[in-house]
């Protein structure tokens, strides 16, 4: 299983507009191109998860995630906010990079936890924040995943 198989170019946004945690979550959900009702349900689920502790894991990276009925297969999106924003991350530093993961409640292939683990592992690589900041187009994001072998 490789991470890049789950990302598509249209679910990558290199300049998020949102200025608050809530706005960024909504913008990331928008990248999945679901209907309005599903967007609302997803937002609620993501907020519930964030209330249990921020998914901002430090080094400018956050991985908001949840399970929801609104998708029938695992979906992911990536967003970047170059100047960073307060996401109540564990290291209390601003967050620049957002990986959204949404999985259906029941999965045949059990991809949710492995994908979450792989993104967390990818985020730990020392040069990743710098490389993500240097991206100029979505395709380069997919190339970076390929280069890192995740």
């Amino acid at each position: 299983m490789e991470l890049r198989e789950f990302f598509s170019e249209d679910a990558i946004k290199l300049e998020l507009d949102g200025e608050t945690k809530d706005d960024v979550l909504k913008e990331l959900i928008g990248l999945l191109k679901l209907d309005e009702k599903s967007d609302g349900m997803l937002y609620k689920m993501l907020k519930r998860r964030e209330n249990l502790g921020s998914t901002g894991i430090g080094r400018g990276i956050a991985i908001p995630h949840c399970r929801s009925l609104v998708v029938n297969k695992l979906r992911v999106a990536f967003g970047r906010k170059s100047k960073g924003m307060d996401f109540k991350a564990i290291d209390e530093k601003p967050v620049n990079f957002f990986f959204l993961i949404v999985a259906p409640p029941l999965e045949v292939s059990n991809q949710y936890l492995p994908v979450l683990g792989k993104i967390a592992q990818f985020s730990k690589e020392p040069d990743v924040p710098q490389r993500l900041l240097a991206l100029t187009e979505p395709l380069q994001f997919l190339d970076l995943l390929k280069e890192k072998g995740v």
Binding site: M45, R49, I90, G117
Partner: protein, 493 residues
């Protein structure tokens, strides 16, 4: 051996044991009556006093002040040691504003009310200063006894405020008493300078003592685990003593030293915390017992009218008004500010402070002491009894799950770099419903135990993590972010 010994000592210890035992056993009644547990200790003291059943004659204000001060030092150090510094940082600014401007504003309002009731301005100001500090322990004892948990932000604000406002009340009371002894001339500017100096010196000594103690404790190898709490006790006394001798606020210093040490990893931390917790409780009992012994119920009746009016004014007007106004810039919900305002109960600090003017032989100081006693008791009984109800009505109860029934603490001689933490499994977590073998743990992290429905489970790879479980994860400190990505924030104990 002096004549009568060892029987005199034995009689003293028997009386002390009986009083201590009655207080400890009575603490169970706190839940039933919804009154702060400390108040019950106070009543035991009153009952044992000159006009009570015990007929113990005690009129030594100097001794009561010494014991009260030592007890407060131990209580504040224990409070600092247990303050969750990371979580409390978010409420640091509002707590400091409440503890400084709040104390000044409360002093102003209460003294104006006291003056309106016929008390001279200078003495009214002193009274206002004495009753201006709050005691979070009073609120938490009621909440704990009734099994209520507060929203984190509200709880931490109350806790931090009460740690910081004692020093402020002490400075105001000692300065005002000195001014009154010196002829009643009060100058605002020197007083403000004195407050700033005491707070600055207290903060500097407090932090320095905490950092130095931590440095030392990691390096000295003591021959017995029991000596570590003895060392922290020494630090606690030194922090207060040195700060006070340097004209700083010793109470602020000792609270900050406790906080600085509590935020760091300590060898034998479990033992150290237990000992200071026990010392904190013992101090509470001793202080309230002794203060209770000082009281003559018949004299209280003489100040009952004014005392009751001031207690009501403080609880219903002054404290809520000051809190709501000062918390407004910090974007607290109205219900949160109202709650902090209502449950700002008074504890032992005002009673200890009320002995200062008595010791200084200020005319009318005993009457002031009785009035303070009345205000503290009335204020603790009325808002105190409503704490569980108000918590429910204002909706400031925590949505967090109840704490686990088990508690595992790993006591280490030196910092290992690994921590054992417990996590409550909510259905929204990625690990909810997963088999342990499928959880992508970072290197070095593992589940060591699960508590499910009050039973303990030794986990294996095929164990499923169920919603409602408490999972104990051992992990290196640097892996904490990834563990919390999977399990959410760790439980606070």
């Amino acid at each position: 051996m002096s004549p009568g010994e060892p029987f005199a000592t034995a009689a003293m210890l028997t009386a002390f044991g009986a009083l201590l035992a009655s207080s400890v056993v009575l603490s169970r009644a706190s839940a039933r009556f919804g009154v702060p547990v400390a108040l019950l200790f106070l009543f035991v003291g009153v009952a044992a006093g000159t006009e009570g059943l015990g007929h113990i004659a005690f009129d030594d204000y100097h001794f009561a002040f010494r014991v009260g001060t030592a007890a407060l030092v131990l209580i504040l150090f224990d409070g600092g040691l247990n303050t969750p510094v990371g979580a409390a940082r978010a409420v640091l600014a509002p707590s400091i504003v409440l503890a400084t401007l709040g104390v000044l504003a409360t002093t102003g309002l209460v003294s104006a009310a006291a003056h309106a009731l016929g008390i001279a301005w200078t003495k009214a100001l002193l009274l206002g200063a004495i009753v201006s500090s709050t005691d979070a322990a009073a609120v938490f004892s009621v909440l704990k006894a009734t099994g209520t948990r507060l929203r984190q932000r509200v709880g931490h604000t109350l806790e931090l405020e009460s740690g910081f406002n004692d020093p402020m009340a002490v400075i105001l009371t000692t300065s005002l008493t000195a001014a009154l002894i010196g002829g009643g001339h009060l100058a605002a500017l020197p007083l403000a300078g004195e407050i700033a100096l005491q707070l600055a010196v207290g903060a500097a000594v407090g932090f320095a003592a905490g950092i130095a103690a931590h440095w030392a404790i990691l390096r000295i190898r003591l021959p017995a685990a029991g000596l570590y709490p003895a060392f922290t006790l020494a630090i606690c006394c030194l922090s207060f003593g040195v700060a006070t001798l340097l004209r700083g606020s010793g109470f602020l210093a000792v609270y900050l030293t406790g906080m600085t040490l509590g935020a760091r990893t300590l060898p034998h931390a479990v033992g150290i915390r237990r000992v200071h917790d026990a010392l904190g409780w013992l101090s509470q009992v001793l202080m309230f017992l002794l203060l209770g012994l000082l009281v003559y119920p018949s004299r209280l009746l003489l100040v009952a009218g004014t005392g009751l009016a001031l207690a009501i004014f403080l609880a219903i007007v002054a404290r809520p008004l000051v809190t709501v106004l000062l918390l407004a810039p910090f974007r607290y919900e109205w219900r949160e500010s109202a709650y902090v305002g209502w449950v700002g109960l008074r504890g032992a600090v005002p009673i200890v402070l009320a002995t200062i003017p008595v010791m200084a032989r200020l005319p009318g100081a005993r009457e002031l002491f009785d009035m303070v006693f009345f205000i503290v008791v009335a204020g603790a009984v009325v808002p105190g009894a409503t704490v569980p109800w108000v918590t429910r009505v204002l909706g400031v109860r925590s949505d967090a799950p109840p704490p686990p029934k088990t508690s595992i603490e790993v006591d280490v001689r030196s910092h290992l770099g690994d921590e054992l933490r417990s996590y409550f499994v909510s259905p929204q977590l990625a690990v909810s419903g997963a088999h342990i073998r499928d959880v992508p743990f970072p290197t070095g992290a593992a589940v060591s135990m699960i508590e499910r429905g009050g039973a303990l489970i030794a986990p294996s790879g095929s164990t499923r993590i169920e919603p409602g479980d408490y999972v104990y994860v051992i992990a290196p400190e640097e892996s904490r972010p990834e563990v919390e990505l999977l399990f959410g924030s760790a439980e606070e104990h």
